[in-house]
């Protein structure tokens, strides 16, 4: 049997495992919750945000991005990874998984794919909820100018860039949560990440700090030239660093004795 067959069967099992789990709901509900809060903000106080010459769609996106990148994403990724790997910790599943006739690498990769897929899903939900929110504001606040749907492409590219820039954080949290069953550890790291990013925002080397990559990646928004440079330094560092952490994480996990 080929590695691809192993991977496919392992991945299809992982997706079934997500059925009825909080992790799945979280990746759908978290962006919706954020967007709906901001819809309320724009609904009631939109005039303070959308001033002369400002594209309301961009302003609405920025409002969401700032919270999303700094506050929500680090915690959200911590939650998602620890919930997904927690399924195994909770049901004593590792020894079972590793005693199946599957290469260990397949099991690891399938799990990692699942987590990446969940984050991607939530980014898609984010875009959909963003569009729905904007259209809703078009109905309830016609004065804000949401009827001209121009310059949306830059928002979509920014979200894609954001996703790529979170790769290293996902990899790191994935390793933490697969290695230790503690939920508090993942959350603690997430919280520390938020605080350090907020405190060190103006530090000259902040763009090397992995937890700041998502924020740095879309800092130029809505400047099209900056956003369209998809593989900027942060994104490249994130992809490279993430791949490295995934590989090192696997080496660590595959050598561990399963008790």
């Amino acid at each position: 049997m080929s590695a691809l067959t192993y991977y496919r069967s392992s991945l299809s099992a992982e997706t079934l495992k997500l059925k009825n789990t909080f992790a799945l709901w979280l990746s759908i509900l978290a962006p919706c919750a954020l967007l709906s809060m901001n819809v309320l903000v724009f609904w009631s106080k939109g005039q303070h945000f959308v001033t002369e010459g400002v594209n309301p769609w961009h302003k609405f996106a920025m409002q969401n991005f700032s919270i999303y990148t700094i506050l929500l994403l680090p915690l959200f990724i911590a939650l998602l990874t620890s919930l997904t790997n927690g399924i195994e910790h909770k049901s004593n599943g590792w020894k079972h998984l590793y005693s199946l006739p599957l290469p260990k690498a397949t099991i690891y990769t399938a799990k990692a794919t699942t987590v990446l897929g969940l984050v991607l899903l939530s980014n898609v939900v984010f875009v959909v909820a963003y569009l729905a929110g904007g259209l809703f504001l078009l109905l309830v606040r016609p004065d804000l100018g949401f009827e001209s749907m121009e310059g949306l492409a830059v928002v979509f590219v920014a979200v894609l860039k954001l996703f790529l820039a979170t790769f290293v954080i996902i990899a790191l949290q994935f390793w933490l949560s697969i290695r230790w069953s503690s939920f508090a550890l993942s959350m603690g790291v997430g919280i520390v990440a938020i605080i350090t990013v907020m405190v060190a925002m103006r530090w000259e080397y902040i763009h090397y700090y992995p937890f700041a990559y998502p924020f740095m990646a879309i800092k130029g928004f809505p400047n099209e030239a900056e956003v369209y440079n998809l593989f900027s330094q942060e994104v490249l560092l994130s992809l490279g660093g993430g791949a490295l952490v995934f590989i090192l994480g696997y080496l660590d996990i595959s050598r561990r004795r399963i008790s």
Binding site: M1, T5, S9, S10, S12, A13, L16, K17, K19, N20, T21, I87, K90, S91, N92, G93, K95, H96, L97, Y98, S99, L100, P101, L102, P103, R257, I258, S259
Partner: protein
């Protein structure tokens, strides 16, 4: 020399193949030695009881057999292949249940099976078959968090059966079950062996459990094999050190007769005569001897060491060495 080789080959052909073999298996966690030169020979088609007190190294052995703990080449062979190089091939033909089954509680029994089925790539129809075998067809679509312990355990066995393996490795499958649950699982194990021809490697710390279904057994303690062989052989070993109690119409005469004929009398307890006997034939001879000498024999009872005591004795290293040595040697053939 040629003759030796030829006979050896012939011997090998007639011998039942071993499904699990360990050769001087040793394992340690850091400085703590868990297994020391463990020798196991599990014949194909057996229910093999793997017995030992808690902490004897049973779970470690099972984890090694399932490839969860790395061992060097040449120490473990399963299905005739070396575990070191053929992990996946071996696991494909092996089903396992380690202590509590791994059940995803948020999914139904059916979904748990479906998920496992996708990973081991069994045909879809197999799900209903295994549900039938373990008797969970009715409850297949209930969430497993509603399952009783016994049902969970049976679902665990169903999971192990999905890929239709020739070998089932069950680690303490009756742990924590109530008597009816224990019975259900035990009957299932026996049925799997008799009807479906599965070889079953069954670990337990309860001798009474093993005794009820195993055909072969190994007793280990502190990581080393203390006994390996069939159950009747173990009983024989136990009998060799047994005590015969008797009551006759005239115990005083009986006592004299027995001492005169070199029977080994034990200190009397109350009205009962106690004699050390070596085997069953001796009991019969003794009985006839007393009757021929005109005594009436009211009671003859062998106080066999039960297996539980024997087990305790073996694992505490207090068993009568001579008697046991023989059976150990006999069992190791």
């Amino acid at each position: 020399m040629l003759f030796f080789v030829a006979t050896y080959a012939a011997y090998h052909k007639t011998m039942k193949p071993f499904i699990i073999e360990t050769h001087g298996l040793s394992y340690s966690f850091g400085k703590r030695q868990v297994l020391q030169n463990l020798e196991l020979r599990v014949p194909q088609g057996a229910i093999f009881g793997f017995l030992g007190p808690n902490g004897a190294g049973k779970s470690t052995t099972i984890r090694i057999l399932l490839g969860l703990l790395p061992v060097p080449k040449g120490q473990v062979r399963v299905h005739g292949h070396d575990l070191h190089n053929n992990r996946i091939e071996i696991l494909r033909r092996t089903g396992s249940l380690i202590e509590m089954p791994t059940l995803y509680r948020h999914l139904s029994g059916h979904d748990n099976l479906e998920m496992h089925r996708r990973m081991v790539q069994a045909p879809k129809s197999r799900i209903n078959e295994v549900l039938q075998i373990v008797g969970l067809t009715q409850d297949a679509y209930r969430k497993t968090k509603e399952y009783s312990l016994g049902m969970s355990q049976r679902l665990g066995i169903a999971l192990a059966l999905l890929a239709d393996p020739e070998l089932l490795i069950l680690d303490e499958p009756t742990n924590g079950l109530d008597p009816s649950g224990i019975r259900e699982v035990r009957e299932l194990i026996i049925r799997l062996n008799r009807e479906f021809g599965k070889t079953i490697f069954l670990s337990s710390h309860l001798l009474s459990e093993i005794e009820k279904c195993a055909t072969e057994l190994a007793i280990i303690d502190k990581g080393a094999t203390l006994y390996q062989g069939s159950l009747p052989q173990l009983y024989q070993g136990a009998f060799q050190s047994s005590v015969l109690q008797l009551e006759t119409s005239n115990d005083a005469i009986a006592r004299k007769l027995l001492t005169d004929h070199q029977y080994e009398l034990l200190p009397q307890q109350g009205d009962v005569l106690a004699v050390q006997v070596q085997d069953r034939q001796q009991v019969a001879r003794l009985n006839r001897f007393l009757i021929v000498n005109g005594l009436e024999v009211y009671r003859l009872s062998t106080h066999t060491h039960n297996l539980e005591e024997l087990f305790l004795n073996i694992t505490k290293g207090e068993a009568e060495p001579a008697a046991l040595q023989e059976t150990i040697l006999a069992g190791k053939v």
